[in-house]
């Protein structure tokens, strides 16, 4: 399945100074959850949205005096393709696992539950936006966040886990 994935790649070079555009680009790439293939070379599974996001970042790089090209392609071997997909899946899985422990922590700490739930739901959404391959961790994280309910139900739901 993963062997069929086509990738959109962004190769870019930005002047070292000023640092503001570098940081802005770096933040955007991080938010998109890119696979870092090398210095100034990142990849995402190709779809209309990821392609568009790279197009915008490429335009931003050029506006900042750099150079950038958006590419479509795939690694020469199915194995490398699979590894790339796994790399992204594992990166998201790690984020989901961290979210689960934050959710458990919030239950233990007696933090304001409504606030904790809102905060972690926002984080879940953020991770979901850069999650390109389904993983078991996604469902676990959603479940952990949903388990943060009003204090009355907490003991029952908490004990289920």
């Amino acid at each position: 399945m993963s062997a069929d994935i086509e990738w959109v790649l962004l190769s870019y070079r930005l002047p070292r100074e000023p640092s503001t555009p570098r940081i802005s680009v770096w933040r955007k790439l991080k938010r998109l959850g890119v696979a870092q293939l090398g210095d100034g070379l990142v990849a995402l599974p190709h779809d209309a949205r990821t392609r568009e996001q790279f197009d915008w970042i490429a335009a931003e790089v050029e506006e900042a005096g750099g150079t950038a090209t958006v590419w479509l392609g795939r690694p020469a071997t199915a194995r490398a393709n699979q590894d790339l997909a796994d790399q992204l899946r594992q990166a998201r899985a790690a984020e989901y696992r961290q979210l689960v422990s934050q959710a458990l922590q919030a239950l233990r700490d007696g933090e304001d539950r409504a606030a904790a739930r809102r905060r972690l739901q926002a984080e879940l959404h953020r991770i979901g936006r850069r999650d390109y391959f389904p993983s078991a961790e996604r469902a676990l994280a959603a479940e952990a966040v949903a388990a943060i309910v009003d204090s009355d139900d907490v003991t029952v739901r908490g004990d289920d886990r």
Partner: protein
């Protein structure tokens, strides 16, 4: 005037088209191109990378158009926050409406052609404008 943007429009392009027709060019004709190379020479491009009326710095295209045409109406800037969050989703603004509106428009993009999306979404944005206009005048959300 003729205006051109990328085909398969989503929130930013849809909102820009509404804004252009409402505030800049009531007679606007829209052309949707698959490739930026197909933009007609007599058309003004928007929401196409490297175009003037596109994302710049933190701004999405809707915000860029407001700035370039000196549109200072606070109601349009409130709508801009929603469009920004729906499109860029960088939590720059508190616009909880964004996710709902984004899903509605993404759904339309799956079922309708671009021209039809403009027809359907025009009244939606008119309604949003009216809502936030009344909200600002009343100092609270209208009933």
């Amino acid at each position: 005037m003729k205006w051109a943007t990328r085909a398969k429009i989503h929130i930013d392009r849809t909102a820009c088209a509404w804004l252009i027709r409402r505030c800049i060019d009531p007679e606007a004709k829209f052309v949707f191109v698959a490739d930026p190379a197909d933009i007609p020479v007599d058309a003004t491009a928007f929401d196409i990378p490297a175009a003037e009326l596109a994302h710049h710095g933190p701004d999405c295209s809707f915000e860029t158009i407001l700035r370039r045409y000196d549109l200072t109406d606070p109601v349009l800037w409130r709508i801009a926050q929603i469009v920004h969050e729906a499109d860029v989703d960088d939590e720059r603004f508190d616009a909880p409406e964004a996710r709902g509106l984004d899903v509605v428009l993404r759904g339309l993009s799956l079922t309708l052609a671009d021209e039809q999306i403009l027809e359907i979404s025009g009244p939606i944005f008119d309604g949003l404008y009216e809502f936030f206009d009344q909200a600002q005048r009343l100092g609270r959300e209208p009933a």
